[in-house]
């Protein structure tokens, strides 16, 4: 690639792999698994982009990142400019470069993917954002002229952080109210350090603070103050982005035995509370020897890989369908397999068995087979009669999904929700049944991705801006 003054046949250059920690090494630490591109690799990868006139990748991005634009800047070695280009539309590029399912979005529609492999857009995004942050001198754009209006954002997760960034850009006085003691939402309590180092989230949040976003932690909206009280305090609009924070249990016998966690609790202890560094940090976590994780999504993969790093001798995924139906990203499943996670597929737990102290000792399971497709389009698992067996376990993590947390809807009269408790919005703008109240992210869609929540934040920012600009000269 050194001599490329002549136009190379770009589609012939294979996609560049990103260096990673070796599996045997990384299961003994919580450090990040992928190590990121070097400058040389990043330039080489960026040069694969053929700079389409009508780039389909941008349409595949929920926050409209100018992908050819930033990739070109990387190809030219203008890394800082690439980072700034990203930040024009993406409030959290170092995060998205790591946790976005690019294979289902921008990279899926990359023209190169038709004949070979897509440009590694996610890896390049991560590279540019990391390059700027590691330089330690992050440029902060000039603040927009204050327009005298205030917006309250409920929840400092990806959606709340994104809308706050966009709204300060329009000149609003924006305060995010976060229930936990640390901003970031799922980025700090849910996604493990080995996938998303918390120092990166902290740096992105710091950047938003520098842009003028105010963040108040330890404020449980609905308890300390209601949405109506926020309006009474003088906020002109409220954006609700509280996530789908309530864990789902399967309601099978023995589920409350000691040693059985929701994935939310297991991951919150390890990630937010840093229980993996107990006793240096005060919050404990059970370091199970035989850990079983129920579920086949990304959260299940995060949980089972956390269990390995906490010293599990056996870490097993139990999933009721086959690998093809697993909702987890292929990359996560691949990493889990490399690390030695066992996959007990077409298997469903029916009961937990405990000892006299009330501690779980095993999971009674039944085998499943796939029947006709269900509403989700995936083949429905059907129990095989007489197939029960027991998997020994001293720790179980239930990662079968989450549901709406009712605190905000229940304390906001006139805010319509669907029967499952998710907030109803009129359209993509996030407008709810309440004047001046907008909502987005998982509390509207149910559990989805970081980037979709961010996209909802961007759209709601435009809608709120339009709403609050009405009637003005």
């Amino acid at each position: 690639m050194e001599n490329n003054s002549a136009k190379p046949k770009k589609e012939k250059i294979p996609r560049h792999a990103m260096p990673e920690q070796e599996p045997q090494l990384r299961i003994r630490n919580f450090d990040e698994v992928p190590l990121g591109y070097t400058e040389k690799l990043a330039i080489a990868e960026a040069q694969r982009c053929i700079q389409c006139k009508k780039p389909s990748c941008v349409a595949g991005c929920p926050v409209d990142v100018d992908i050819p634009g930033f990739v070109k800047l990387i190809a030219e070695g203008r890394f800082i400019e690439a980072a700034l280009k990203l930040k024009e539309t993406n409030a959290l590029p170092a995060v998205c470069g790591r946790v976005c399912p690019q294979e289902d979005q921008c990279e899926k529609v990359c023209i190169l993917a038709k004949k070979g492999e897509a440009v590694a857009i996610g890896r390049l995004e991560r590279f540019a954002a990391d390059f700027e942050r590691n330089l330690g001198d992050v440029a902060v754009p000039a603040r927009a002229k204050p327009n005298g209006k205030r917006v309250a954002v409920v929840g400092a997760g990806p959606s709340g952080l994104t809308i706050a960034r966009d709204l300060v850009g329009y000149g609003y006085d924006v305060t995010i109210f976060e229930a936990l003691h640390k901003p970031g939402g799922v980025l700090v309590y849910g996604i493990p350090e080995f996938r998303l180092p918390k120092a990166i989230v902290d740096a992105e949040v710091d950047y938003l603070r520098k842009l003028g976003v105010k963040i108040e932690t330890n404020v449980v909206v609905g308890r300390m103050k209601t949405v109506d009280e926020l309006f009474a305090e003088g906020y002109n609009a409220v954006y609700i982005a509280v996530g789908a924070g309530a864990p789902v249990f399967m309601d099978i016998p023995g589920e409350n035995l000691s040693g059985i966690y929701s994935a939310n609790e297991y991951l919150t202890r390890s990630n937010l509370m840093k229980a993996y560094r107990f006793p240096e940090y005060d919050t404990p976590i059970v370091r199970g020897r035989q850990v079983v994780v129920i579920g086949g999504g990304n959260v299940a993969m995060d949980s089972v890989r956390t269990a390995l790093r906490l010293g599990a001798e056996a870490a097993t995924i139990i999933y009721r369908r086959s690998e093809a139906e697993m909702p987890a990203r292929a990359e996560e499943v691949h990493h889990a397999k490399e690390e030695g996670v066992k996959f007990q597929l077409l298997t469903n737990p029916v009961e937990y068995i405990g000892n006299e102290q009330g501690w779980v000792t095993g999971v009674r399971c039944q085998r499943m087979e796939l029947g006709e497709p269900d509403a989700s389009g995936r083949r429905r698992p059907v129990a095989v009669a007489g197939s029960e067996f027991v998997i020994p376990a001293d720790t179980v993590v239930v990662a079968v999904g989450t549901m709406a947390n009712p605190i905000v809807p229940a304390t906001t009269p006139g805010l319509d929700t669907n029967p499952r408790g998710y907030i109803l919005t009129k359209d993509d703008s996030g407008k709810t049944s309440r004047e001046g109240v907008y909502a987005g992210g998982d509390i509207v869609t149910g559990s989805a991705t970081v980037i979709l929540a961010m996209g909802a934040g961007r759209q709601a920012a435009r809608a709120i801006h339009e709403y609050l600009s009405r009637g003005e000269v």
Binding site: H181, R223, N256, G259, Y261, M273, K274, P284, Q357, I407
Partner: protein
């Protein structure tokens, strides 16, 4: 924010603290609690709001030293600050005029029952309070409880003060004497609440208990605090903390409270060594 305004030893290992928390003070109602975290590396622990002063912008907590976090907290002084105080959390106590109520507190649980007794008294109930401790020196809030009760009965396990015996024996005596009791509030150690719930069950006296399971986020997100009530799983932080004592599975509660006993011992011992070193 979160400054300790006052600190007072109530007994050998029970401490009362007044914290600066103006928004919580304004909003809180009887029965609610806070989560506090001492510092960056601290854990999140739930503590009942015993009292509040909206004008001063303060709340009062009472805690017993049971682990590292409470031990560290007990050694903090007025003027120091906690990194995080979150609240008010949980559902407020359902307060109305039920008639004749009995408020029972055991050990540090007296601090939890105190705001209930005060609110119930204010709502017009005839309040009999029974407070107990292992011995006289461990008894807390006697004067405060007297002020919010029509009648106060003190019991000590060793007979060093008041009635010689458990609070449950005092309640049994009241029932045996044919006293009309419309509702019982029983708050204290799990064995005490279990005994009291079993005692009132055959008489059909509604008995409310306040549960104290392990919590992490305390906003319904993690399920650490799940308990079984009437055969259904409930999250104490958002569905409680008060439940019908006749429906609670106390065995499950005790088991789950012991989930980290080994780790707790480990940090407590390490903490003791650290303190001796100083």
């Amino acid at each position: 924010m979160n400054r300790i305004v006052e600190r007072q030893d109530l007994s050998e290992n029970v401490v009362r603290m007044v914290l600066e928390a103006p928004e919580i003070a304004r909003k809180r109602r009887a029965g609610q609690f806070i989560i506090l975290k001492i510092d960056e590396k601290g854990e999140r622990i739930p503590l009942t709001i015993v009292d509040s002063d909206a004008r001063e912008g303060t709340i009062t907590i009472i805690f017993q030293v049971v682990g590292k976090t409470t031990a560290v907290l007990a050694r903090m002084n007025a003027g120091e600050s906690l990194s995080d105080v979150q609240g008010p959390l949980g559902n407020p106590t359902e307060i109305e005029n039920f008639g004749r109520v009995v408020c029972i507190g055991g050990g540090v649980g007296v601090g939890v029952v105190y705001p209930l007794a005060a609110a119930l008294k204010k709502a017009g109930n005839h309040v009999t309070s029974i407070i107990g401790a292992r011995c006289k020196s461990l008894l807390i809030l006697e004067q405060e409880m007297k002020q919010v009760s029509d009648r106060l009965i003190v019991a000590t396990d060793d007979g060093s003060y008041g009635f010689h015996g458990f609070v449950s024996a005092v309640l049994q005596n009241m029932i045996d004497a044919g006293e009309k009791i419309d509702r019982v509030y029983a708050i204290g150690p799990v064995p005490m609440m279990r005994v009291l719930a079993n005692l009132t069950r055959p008489y059909g006296i509604k008995t409310i208990v306040s549960l104290n399971p392990i919590m992490v986020d305390a906003t319904g997100m993690c399920g650490a605090c799940r308990v079984s009530v009437g055969g259904k799983t409930k999250f104490t932080c958002v569905d409680g903390p008060e439940f019908d004592g006749h429906e609670v599975d106390f065995n499950l509660l005790s088991n789950r409270l012991r989930m980290y006993s080994e780790q707790e011992k480990q940090t407590m011992e390490a903490h003791r060594c650290e303190c001796h070193g100083k």
